[in-house]
Every structure is written in C-alpha cells, then in structure tokens.
C-alpha cells in the first residue's frame, strides 16, 4: 500500500532523508506531466520539475499540514508554470517532443498512415489545449489528465467550486469548437 504523503512529510521532518526519495518516486511523473501540458515544452517542464522538487526539499521542513501535500505541490507547479515566459518558437519546438511516440508493438500492427495520423491527431489536441486561456487550461488539465475532483482543484486554485466548474465547461466548449473538424 502506498505511503500517504503526510506520513512521508513527517518522516522527512524527523530526519529520514529516504522519505524524500519515496516522494520523488511518487511525484516525479505527475509533476512532469502537469508541467509539460501547461508549458507545452518538455525541456521547460523538466526545469519546472527540478525547481518544484528543490522547493519541496527546502520547504518540507516548514510544511505544517494546513493544506494537503498534494494541494501544496500542485500549487507550486502551477505557480512555476505561470511564471514562465514562453515564445512561439519554444512552444512549436516543444510540442513535437511532448507528443509521445507509440511503442514498437503498436507500430508493428498499424500501417504507417495510422501511426502518422495518430501523431498528427495528438499534436492537434495538444495545440488546442495549449491554446486555451490559462485559467481554463489549468482546470482542464488538472481534471482530465490528473483526475482531480472539482473540490480539490478549487482548493489548489483558491477559487470557489462553482468557478472551477464554469471554467471546465467553458474549456471543454472552446476545445469542442477547435476540435470540431476531428469529431466524426
């Protein structure tokens, strides 16, 4: 059974440095995924992950548990991503890297056309999400890709649940318009 974050925080605060390793193992992937989908740049996402983990390491000692650890770490990543100034060139370069290549087995059973279309489709979806206004993009990414409930997202953003729901609906509606040609 997975150790709760709060237990890991307590262990770290008691001087058990190995607890940080467990936290990294648990949060490395979600942080990178979130940062990739918010910045659209894999390299920039790795920078955000490094800074988020450094902030975690330095801040764990003062973590008082007023909010859940997951809320705290998501806030850190969101704030780091918001601080990033990106230009169009960076976004275009990164988008290609942020779309995962299908693994070898998939390529074997699919025709080249299908593989190419799949990648193209993934890029179109990624561009549509990245083109959303920041407020809607954050909610869509947290809800859809990180499977966080509206109350949890509201806590992370410091906004009412009703606002989060409205942003999600608006985000999906905007995406529907942009992806309309792909819907069959």
């Amino acid at each position: 059974m997975e150790t709760p974050d709060e237990d890991l925080v307590s262990r770290f605060q008691s001087g058990d440095e190995s607890a940080f390793e467990v936290m990294v193992a648990k949060w490395n992937e979600p942080i990178l995924q979130l940062a990739t989908r918010l910045t659209g740049d894999l390299e920039e996402a790795k920078d955000v992950r490094q800074m988020a983990l450094i902030k975690t390491y330095q801040g764990l000692g003062r973590f008082e548990g007023r909010a859940r650890f997951s809320t705290w770490i998501y806030r850190v990543v969101l704030n780091l991503c918001r601080d990033r100034k990106r230009n169009a060139a960076v976004r275009a370069r990164a988008l290609e890297d942020s779309v995962r290549e299908k693994d070898g087995d998939y390529v074997l059973v699919e025709t080249g056309f299908h593989v190419a279309r799949d990648r193209e489709l993934a890029e179109i979806v990624a561009q549509a999400v990245l083109a959303l206004p920041a407020a809607e993009r954050e909610v869509v990414v947290l809800r859809h890709y990180h499977e966080l409930g509206f109350p949890a997202i509201a806590e992370i953003l410091g906004s009412p649940v009703t606002t989060v729901k409205s942003r999600m609906t608006r985000g999906l509606t905007l995406l529907r318009t942009r992806l309309a040609t792909l819907e069959t």
């Binding site: 000692g61 003062r62 995406l175 309309a180």
Partner: protein, 245 residues
C-alpha cells in the same frame, strides 16, 4: 452545432455538463439534468459534442519521465543544499582542517627525511622493503621499486583524496543538520544545544584519549625507526665493499 430551441433552463443546465461528464454531480443535480436532457435536443447535442471532445483529449499522451527516482532525489538534495546559507561558525570544520594540515605536515616531514636519505621503497615477496642510498653509495636499484619522489607523490595524492572525502562527508552532514535544525522550535533547539554541549565534552575527552594513545605509539615507533636507521647506517658504513671505506 447550436440548436435553435433553447429553453431558459439550458444555460444553467449546460454549466453542469462538465460535472456530469466527469461523474461529479450529486444525485439530485444529476436527476434534474437528466430530466432536462430528455426534453432538450439542443442540450443533448451539446453533451454529445463535449463527450467526443473528452474522448479526443485522451489522444494527447506525454512522454514518461524515465528518471531513476533515487538519482533524481540525490541530485535535487545536492542542488537544494547548495542554496542553503553556510553556517557562520564552523568549529568542527575548523578543527578538521587543522588536523588535516597537521597530518599533511607530518607526512611531508617524513617524506623529506626519506628523500634526504635517498630512500627507495620496493615490494618483494609481498613485503614492503626500504633501502637507503647514503651519500656515496652506489648500490644498484632493485627491480620493481618506487623512488621516494613517486612515493611522495602517491602519498600526497592519497592525503588529498582522503581530505576531500572528509570534507564532502562533512558538507553532507552539515546540510542534513541544517535542514533538521531549521525545523525545530525553541524547546527543541534548547534541548539540542544541551545535547551538543554534552556531546562536545564527550568528544573532547575521547579525542584527548586517542591523541595521547597516538602520541605514545608515535614516540615508540619513532624510537624503533631511529634505532633501525642507526643499525642500517652502521651496517652500510662497515660494509667492506663500501667505496668510502
């Protein structure tokens, strides 16, 4: 895409569609929405479109992290530690540096003595052997020997390596200690201060004891070495083949 016959409820109901799609509506809200959907083609169409959009979102996959968490954690800890302010007072580090300097000085003095004596070091039959080329001596150098310069360089390298390890370990311990101290409240800090005082006293006693032992052993070893050197010198000078004789 947009249906024409929207009812006054449609705006409010559509705000619930995202919650409905992601299974986040409470039972009463879901019942109300489903009742509305039954009679509203426009909202059913909207829901259908959003559901397709929801499915499309799943097509964007991102690369897995593929990092070793242990290595990543170590790198982060090291990086985070660098950003920490150094302690203003570092008495243990100062002592460590003083002792390292003392040991290096002693090693250098010993090496100088060996160098003056023209000492050669060799390993023969698994045993370390020293030979001395006193002034005027012309004994051929044995095979597989190291010159005093080479030994000096090797020992200096090992002393530097050892000192570097000591300093690294000390840096790591210092960072870990700093992290822990930063988390402590006033009571804990007071307890820590008392513990540190006690530990320092204990360490000082233990250190004094070990130093006394070391000094006794060193004096004894020195006496034996001087005696052996004298014997060797006597044997060399009394050698009938010695050119100075």
């Amino acid at each position: 895409m947009e249906h024409e016959d929207l009812t006054p409820d449609c705006g409010r109901m559509r705000n619930e569609l995202a919650g409905y799609l992601y299974g986040e509506l409470a039972l009463d809200a879901r019942t109300l929405l489903e009742a509305h959907l039954e009679g509203c083609g426009a909202c059913r169409e909207e829901l259908s479109g959003l559901r397709e959009t929801q499915a499309l979102l799943g097509r964007w996959e991102t690369p897995p992290a593929n990092d070793d968490p242990r290595e990543l954690a170590a790198a982060i800890a090291a990086r985070a530690g660098q950003a920490l302010p150094r302690l203003a007072v570092q008495p243990r580090r100062a002592r460590l540096v003083r002792w390292s300097a003392l040991l290096c000085g002693a090693a250098a003095a010993l090496l100088f003595l060996l160098s003056v004596l023209g000492t050669r070091v060799s390993f023969e039959g698994g045993n370390l052997q020293l030979s001395f080329a006193l002034p005027g001596a012309s004994a051929p150098a044995p095979r597989d020997t190291l010159s005093a310069d080479e030994v000096q360089a090797y020992i200096a390298q090992q002393v530097a390596l050892h000192t570097s390890h000591l300093e690294q370990n000390f840096e790591q311990s210092q960072r870990a200690l700093y992290q822990r101290v930063a988390q402590m409240n006033k009571e804990e800090l007071l307890r820590l201060a008392q513990t540190v005082d006690y530990a320092l006293d204990q360490n000082q006693e233990a250190l004094n004891s070990r130093l006394n032992n070391f000094a006794r052993t060193a004096a004894s070893t020195d006496a034996q070495t001087i005696q052996a050197l004298n014997q060797l010198a006597t044997m060399t000078v009394s050698n009938p083949n010695h050119p100075n004789r």
